[in-house]
């Protein structure tokens, strides 16, 4: 008779996994360490171990920058009319619907009026989760209205970029948004109203090649991908691997393309300080 013979049926394992860990822990892409989610949240979505800045959504950004998470939004009811009736493997209109359902936004940006360290500001905060934060007719118009509002009320403007660039599905319509926004910024510049551009991960393409690079100050979060062409396109063009850290904030700072690289926890005070300097 076998000593270890199982006597009856399958083992009962139902009691073993009562503690759910999923959703409580996050693996950092930067240092591969496991972080307690609450630690990450308390640290403004920055890894406490390696200082990797996680991407955050547009509302979280506004909450971090504006006093007491108090602000009102404007120009928040515009949505794209799909000017080209664009359809690839999937129709653009269905992509729009999905993005709207997932983010609760009509397009990839939120305009907000609020206070930053007691100073009134206008913030346009881009939403990367909405079709890669891409800029079509709506993003172009909403940002232009933020610029016009800033000029009209002589309120400092902050644009927080998080975008892959122009929205391909709106073709040349999206390209013309670069022109429109840049022209509006020329007027804001002449009116001597402060404009601070905050570049976050990622900021590329037509967004970098227009408003993101036109601030009185251009500041970026650490480790953000910032560039004109995407890294893959460049690799295909020059047919070599790109060096580590290429097109990251620190690389741009080294090449004189940014005024500062500022950690998320210091961002609000940095902007506040700059606005004090620029205040009339």
């Amino acid at each position: 008779m076998a000593w270890f013979k199982r006597e009856a049926g399958e083992l009962d394992t139902s009691g073993e996994k009562k503690v759910r860990t999923e959703g409580l822990w996050v693996k950092c892409e930067g240092c591969r360490q496991i972080i307690w989610k609450k630690d990450l949240e308390d640290n403004l979505q920055v890894c406490p171990k390696c200082n990797k800045h996680f991407r955050i959504d547009a509302r979280t950004r506004l909450a971090q920058l504006l006093d007491d998470d108090q602000y009102d939004t404007f120009a928040d009811n515009l949505s794209s009319t799909d000017p080209l009736q664009f359809s690839d493997l999937k129709s653009y209109s269905s992509r729009l619907e999905t993005a709207q359902a997932e983010t609760g936004l009509t397009d990839a940006v939120i305009n907000a009026r609020g206070k930053l360290n007691g100073q009134p500001v206008i913030v346009s905060s881009m939403e990367y989760a909405f079709i890669g934060g891409s800029m079509g007719a709506v993003v172009g118009e909403v940002i232009t209205r933020a610029i016009e509002e800033a000029q009209k009320t002589r309120t400092p403007l902050i644009i927080v970029s998080a975008s892959g660039g122009a929205r391909m599905m709106e073709g040349v319509v999206s390209l013309m948004q670069l022109a429109k926004i840049s022209a509006a910024l020329a007027r804001l510049d002449e009116a001597r109203v402060p404009y601070i551009s905050v570049l976050t991960d990622p900021t590329t393409g037509g967004v970098t090649a227009s408003f993101a690079m036109l601030g009185d100050l251009n500041v970026a979060e650490p480790g953000a991908l910032i560039g004109f062409a995407g890294p893959r396109v460049i690799e295909q063009t020059i047919r070599t691997k790109l060096p580590a850290g290429f097109q990251r904030s620190e690389f741009l700072l080294e090449h004189g393309m940014l005024d500062a690289v500022v950690s998320r926890k210091d961002l609000k005070s940095y902007i506040g300080r700059a606005l004090e300097f620029m205040a009339a």
Binding site: N77, M168, G171, T237
Partner: protein
């Protein structure tokens, strides 16, 4: 006594009253038509289809001439007359097919045609006393953009244009018309010279795009383009931009914020190349023809979207067939537009430019 005419396929007819060897003419014409049709069918094969189409069109013209002579000839039997009529009908329908609107991909190939006139070709034919200005005073001189002073019908003007090239050595020198940041900074520098001395500015756009290279990123390609957009929007002189070939996204726009934006009939203007769009959206670069269509990149498309002011006609077959004629047509358009702009006081001009771009491409609805 009369010249006898030989078509490309050796069909012989005479230009007078006598028809030689009627049977041969008909069978010959049939053969001719089948050739044209097979060539027309070959257009869906990718290679050299524009040239084939052009040849098909030229051949059609020849056949038509010959047939009309046949028809004019007396003493024909009814059979022959019917046959001639049928052939004529067939030719008509073929002709309509051949000259029907080029699709977006065909326009793209025309816009990129290696014999298409480039900025310096137009400068040579439209302007006099061109003196080139080099360098950005910071890093270097970018041969992918040419800039300089010139005279347009006696008037002092400034010119900026992308420059492509035809042979390999020159292509490399011009970087295939893809500027680096110093090209855009040189352009901005000469814009400021034009502004200081109150000279109108002409820009000519023909680029696949701003160069996506390592050095370009290091030296701030995005910043260079962004700054040009802002500064052109408020430049205190008249600006006329012509998209002559490829209007490649931000690299094109960086010299195209103008009071008048003209597009040559067979040029294209797009946020991304059809190939790039196809490989991203369809994950298949061979879907470029579909992508070209979907992106709305032709002059007609841009005009309908309100993103350009007018379309400049090209000689039959495209600008590459006759540089001088293309330049004449463009000069005519530049002249008209410049005359209109010079009538406006500069502050009104700059306001109108602002308002144009402010109202452009507004495709949104208000949700309730």
């Amino acid at each position: 006594m009369r010249a006898s005419h030989h078509s490309a396929f050796g069909v012989q007819v005479t230009s007078g009253s006598r028809v030689v060897n009627v049977g041969l003419v008909v069978t010959g014409t049939d053969f001719l038509l089948s050739m044209v049709e097979s060539r027309w069918a070959a257009r869906n094969g990718d290679a050299r289809k524009m040239d084939l189409q052009l040849k098909a069109r030229q051949e059609l013209e020849k056949i038509e001439q010959q047939l009309s002579r046949l028809q004019a000839a007396p003493g024909q039997n009814d059979d022959l007359r019917t046959q001639i009529k049928q052939l004529n009908d067939r030719i008509d329908s073929l002709r309509i097919e051949v000259s029907a609107n080029h699709d977006a991909w065909q326009r793209t190939e025309l816009a990129r045609h290696p014999q298409r006139p480039y900025a310096l070709d137009y400068i040579e034919r439209i302007f006099t006393d061109f003196s080139e200005i080099h360098g950005d005073r910071g890093f270097g001189d970018d041969p992918a953009i040419v800039t300089g002073m010139a005279r347009f019908q006696g008037q002092e003007v400034m010119i900026i244009g992308h420059q492509k090239a035809r042979d390999t050595k020159q292509k490399v020198y011009r970087n295939f018309g893809m500027p680096n940041p110093e090209g855009y900074r040189k352009a901005l520098r000469v814009m400021k010279i034009a502004e200081k001395f109150r000279r109108p500015l002409f820009t000519f756009v023909d680029t696949p795009g701003a160069y996506p290279g390592l050095g370009a990123e290091e030296r701030g390609q995005a910043e260079a383009i962004a700054r040009n957009l802002r500064e052109m929007a408020r430049l205190q002189v008249p600006i006329i931009t012509t998209i002559t070939g490829e209007g490649g996204s931000g690299g094109a726009l960086a010299i195209a914020i103008a009071d008048r934006v003209l597009m040559m009939e067979n040029s294209i203007y797009s946020v991304i190349s059809p190939e790039g769009c196809a490989s991203i959206m369809w994950r298949d670069a061979t879907k470029k023809e579909l992508a070209a269509q979907a992106l709305h990149i032709t002059a007609k498309d841009l005009s309908e979207l309100g993103c350009v002011d007018s379309i400049v006609p090209e000689p039959e077959g495209g600008a590459h067939t006759d540089h001088a004629a293309a330049a004449d047509l463009l000069a005519e358009s530049l002249k008209t537009n410049l005359a209109q702009l010079l009538k406006m006081p500069v502050p009104d001009l700059v306001d109108a430019r602002y308002n144009k771009f402010r109202k452009m491409a507004q495709f949104f609805r208000v949700e309730v």
